[in-house]
């Protein structure tokens, strides 16, 4: 686009120097380059859409490419209450059973206290065409509260959880002979999907009793041991938590992970939720949470005060100090 804007000016200068009519020629060239710029910017997308429509009109939505074998398919019917098309009729395409109708229905709350449409979010996640857009939507998921109190629509939550898991697996290659390895260029999607999965799983208070979780556990293969993640502490940490949530009891070696400050902040907040739910259900706070707290509070240099606050609140939960709801909602505590 920049070329399209600048080129007429440059060309007109050249033409003016060669004695041509300055205004007439530069006007024509400007229009021509604007058209060229439009084609360059929108052409590939239009062409792709055209090809998709004309040559592959019945192509199903993107499906999971590298998922491990599933003995039994996901309990799609259980999340099928929102598996209807926008018109409300049942779809004939089984692979589209997880799609969610784009109905504006405010059911979630984001951290700024705004009501958000989680169903629309789930629908967009299902229909988004490329990994860049997916990552953006996955990041937006983290800004929405998925707690059962704020989110009455369990179907949207289930669908988004499963889709996040699938998107995480899309970023990995699994040839069954070796451990899963991260595909080149898919780090962003893997990281965003893992975080979204953890976010929904923990905030949504999912447990192993849940049928959706049960289905995911049945087909899950540990990702945390993948050697392709060894240089990426942030990704390793989230993938390790996904493994733990899905029943792989392998302790995360927090001391070995040099987490970035922003990621540690995010982890401390979401793990505070995990600790809170555990105490709420009268359970012992999971070891991966206490180990994270131990490592964070003893690390040198000391992490951000917001992380310290979250970790101290976990300590408070251990000894039975009540937690104010506001402390669960605020990320940047000081």
């Amino acid at each position: 686009m920049a070329l399209a804007v600048l080129s007429p000016f440059l060309l007109s200068q050249i033409l003016a120097k060669t004695g041509q009519s300055f205004y007439a020629i530069s006007g024509v060239v400007t229009v021509a380059f604007f058209i060229l710029g439009f084609i360059l910017a929108w052409g590939p997308a239009l062409l792709h859409a055209l090809v998709t429509k004309v040559f592959h009109p019945h192509t199903p939505p993107r499906t999971v490419r590298h998922l491990p074998p599933t003995p039994s398919p996901l309990p799609r019917q259980e999340v099928g209450s929102f598996s209807s098309a926008p018109g409300g009729g049942k779809t004939h395409d089984s692979t589209a059973s997880l799609t969610v109708a784009p109905i504006l229905n405010p059911v979630g709350v984001d951290y700024q206290g705004n009501l958000t449409d989680a169903r629309r979010l789930a629908w967009m996640l299902e229909r988004s065409p490329d990994s860049g857009t997916l990552s953006t939507i996955l990041q937006f998921i983290l800004e929405v509260l998925w707690t059962p109190d704020h989110l009455q629509d369990a179907d949207s939550s289930n669908a988004t959880l499963v889709r996040s898991y699938e998107l995480l697996w899309e970023a990995f290659d699994n040839d069954y002979a070796t451990r899963p390895s991260l595909l080149r260029g898919m780090r962003g999607q893997a990281f965003a999907a893992a975080k979204a999965f953890i976010h929904i799983f923990i905030q949504g208070d999912y447990t192993s009793d849940n049928s959706v979780v049960g289905a995911l556990r049945d087909r899950h293969i540990p990702l945390g041991s993948s050697s392709s993640l060894k240089d990426d502490a942030d990704l390793r940490s989230v993938v390790g938590i996904v493994d733990n949530l899905l029943g792989i009891r392998r302790p995360i070696q927090w001391a070995e992970l040099r987490l970035t400050s922003s990621h540690r902040l995010w982890l401390s907040h979401i793990l505070l939720y995990r600790a809170w739910y555990a105490t709420k259900h009268g359970l012992r706070i999971p070891d991966d949470v206490t180990e994270f707290v131990k490592h964070s509070l003893s690390s040198d240099p000391r992490p951000r005060l917001a992380v310290v606050a979250d970790c101290v609140l976990v300590v408070g939960l251990i000894i039975g100090h009540p937690l104010h709801e506001a402390d669960l909602l605020v990320l940047e505590k000081t």
Binding site: A41, W42, A45, L46, H48, A49, L50, T52, K53, L104, P106, V109, D110, Y111, Q112, G113, N114, L115, T116, D117, R120, L121, M124, R127, S128, P129, D130, G132, T133, S135, T136, I137, Q139, F140, T290, V293, K294, L297, S298, R302, L305, V308, A309, C311, V312, L313, V314, V315, G316, I318, I319, G320, H321, H324, A326, D327, L329, V330, K333, T334
Partner: protein, 403 residues
């Protein structure tokens, strides 16, 4: 569908704009902004108070176990309220009668770690009794190595940094368990902070250990401790406080006839940091007034150490006892040669201190009667007397050399 597809593709290039658009689409109405229920210091205080209750007299065994788990996470945090809270908790635990056995010592160990782990802030002790009880118990009881090191490190740090010499002089630090335990733990293979704390502990107890005239350990053990000190001196980064602690211990040993013969010459390399040592350091003052130290240093083949030491004595000439003055003049005549190098070496302490004091005096008016200026002038006067006396001795040596 086409429009949505192209829109999404285009917008994926501009994620921030897309997020904004998502918010526009999804957000219906603003609700409210969340704020934390309280600030961090208040949360820390509440957790500290709750921990104190957990280890209080009305608690159950399950509560105590939960409390230990929480304390394990809480105590490593480097913040002022944590250190203060842990100190109160340590005192509570040590005084409690309902906590017994391993639970009591574990709680005390974790709480003391919370008090002493941070270099930037450590609450001062009002009484070393509980610490010494804990210290002796830790030295006597076999724990897992990591736990033992952590407990010892906390105890040594508390005694070395948060207590003072006068406070520890009230306790007998020459007990067999303390002496043997300290020699065993003073190893460079132990964590750095542990043997550094032991070095500072030795500085605090050197009066009792090296100046009592009592043989607190046999010759073998004395050699072992000196060897470990020399090894550690080579490894440690020579910051001012470390140099001062090493010199204080070194002078304490040099003053004692039991320890002096075993001191290796390499240990005296720490003398390079001598100007940083406060002149009122007790072991140095004792050494300065002991004429035997000169002979002890003279016994080394390398005479530069004794010359350097004599330079320090010449600097403090006026404050020396008469028998030391006499011995100093005698040995100076015997050891120092007529060459310029020797004379420069022996005058180095006087020249250096004179420069230092002159620079310091520049801050004051020539006729200032401020206390600091007066003391500086008096010190310069004493230096001058020492310099004149030394000059007389050196002239005698030079003329003897010429003849």
């Amino acid at each position: 569908m086409v429009i949505r597809y192209t829109k999404l593709t285009f917008l994926s290039w501009k994620r921030r704009e897309f997020i904004r658009l998502l918010r526009l689409v999804c957000v219906c109405r603003p609700k409210r902004l969340f704020l934390p229920s309280q600030e961090l210091p208040s949360i820390l205080q509440k957790v500290s108070d709750k921990l104190k209750v957990t280890f209080g007299p009305t608690t159950t065994r399950t509560d105590i176990e939960v409390g230990l788990r929480a304390l394990e996470l809480f105590s490593p945090l480097c913040l002022h309220p944590v250190a203060d809270g842990c100190q109160a908790l340590f005192n509570e635990v040590m005084k409690s009668t309902h906590l017994t056995g391993e639970i009591k010592w574990k709680a005390a160990r974790l709480a003391l770690h919370g008090v002493c782990k941070w270099d930037l802030y450590m609450p001062l002790l009002s009484d070393a009794n509980d610490i010494i009880t804990f210290f002796e118990h830790t030295l006597e009881s076999p724990y897992a190595e990591e736990e033992q090191d952590m407990a010892l490190q906390s105890a040594y740090r508390a005694l070395a940094y948060a207590a003072n010499r006068e406070m520890l002089d009230q306790y007998d630090m020459k007990k067999r368990v303390i002496v043997d335990g300290t020699v065993a733990a003073f190893d460079h293979q132990k964590p750095f902070q542990l043997w550094k704390a032991i070095l500072f502990f030795l500085d605090v107890v050197e009066g009792q250990w090296f100046n009592s005239g009592v043989e607190i350990m046999d010759e073998e053990k004395r050699r072992e401790l000196i060897r470990k000190l020399a090894d550690n001196v080579e490894r440690i980064e020579p910051t001012i406080d470390v140099i001062c602690a090493i010199l204080s211990v070194l002078f304490g040993m040099a003053n004692s006839p039991m320890w002096r013969p075993h001191l290796p010459i390499k240990l005296w390399s720490a003398m390079g940091g001598f100007p940083a040592l406060p002149e009122t350091t007790p072991s140095f003052v004792r050494c300065r007034n002991n004429p035997d130290v000169i002979d002890g240093l003279r016994a080394y083949e390398d005479k530069s150490v004794v010359k350097f030491w004599m330079g320090i004595l010449w600097r403090d000439w006026v404050d020396l006892r008469p028998e030391v003055q006499a011995r100093l003049v005698e040995v100076t005549r015997e050891v120092v040669g007529p060459g310029a190098e020797d004379q420069a070496l022996i005058s180095a302490a006087i020249v250096g201190t004179h420069q230092q004091l002159s620079q310091h005096m520049e801050k004051f008016r020539p006729w200032s009667i401020e206390e600091e200026a007066l003391s500086c002038r008096a010190r310069l006067e004493k230096l001058e007397q020492g310099r004149l006396k030394l000059e007389g001795v050196l002239v005698g040596i030079s003329s003897k050399g010429l003849s």
